[in-house]
Subunit: 123 residues, 2 copies
DNA sequence: TTACATGCAAAACTTTTGCAACTTA
DNA sequence: TAAGTTGCAAAAGTTTTGCATGTAA
């Protein structure tokens, strides 16, 4: 656990807005001025592999990262691109439905909602 | 509607495996030999904007495209990366739960399942 | 004819990697 | 010390774009 890795993990824990690697670099470089973007990418990879972080699928541009706390879902605002966490209870009947339909064993799922946030709706 | 655009749309309709832009290029270039990859990208963008196609979020590598037929979900095999469509009925109570939790107006959602397909499970 | 589409090549962006030097445990 | 990590810069991969030419309506 190098200072660089600790700083990446701390930035990820602090920043609730699902930062990109570049966002994290900009946070971390204040505390570890000589860190490189490559090191941020390498540490994010390690943290994902070890289960401390998740890489979210990217619709466009860069991937976003998320400190793993518990299984959760996301909603993206189509107005301002803000991403907010959604917590839902697991639903075994959903899993059974899907397994019956496709013959896979289902390990996990994530739902991405899309909508309009309160602020954007007000405009 | 140019021959190039028609060929891209046809390739997308034919190919059920959620092709990448590169995959589509390789299908289309057989029929329109001088087409360029840039043109494939431009036409995919137009088709997405006009609602004939969807760009799927990418976990790694290239984006994948999908001919729009009806709202549906996906399951990805963690063994072989195969993607299979899943059809589920819409669930209004889910929408209401999410709207109450985050204050957004929900327009749509897509669930990405992850699991192991029959073939990979057999190994 | 006029607006739009194309091929090509270069550029823009994101992410990964080789390497020599340096740290961590 | 041995294994792993860093900074840097270059490379790899995907997607977009400028431009002159060509095509559709």
């Amino acid at each position: 656990m190098t200072p660089q890795r600790a700083a990446v993990l701390e930035a990820l824990s602090t920043c609730k807005h699902h930062p990109t690697a570049e966002d994290i670099y900009e946070l971390v470089v204040r505390k570890v001025p000589r860190i490189s973007l490559g090191t941020v990418y390498r540490n994010l990879q390690v943290l994902v592999d070890e289960g401390y972080a998740t890489r979210l699928p990217a619709m466009e541009g860069s991937h976003r990262y998320d400190r793993v706390v518990a299984a959760h879902h996301h909603i993206v605002c189509s107005g301002c691109s803000r991403i907010v966490d959604i917590h839902l209870e697991d639903d075994d009947s959903l899993r059974e439905t899907v397994e019956a339909q496709c013959g896979f064993v289902v390990n996990s799922h994530r739902t991405e909602f899309e909508g309009t946030c309160g602020e954007c709706a007000a405009k």
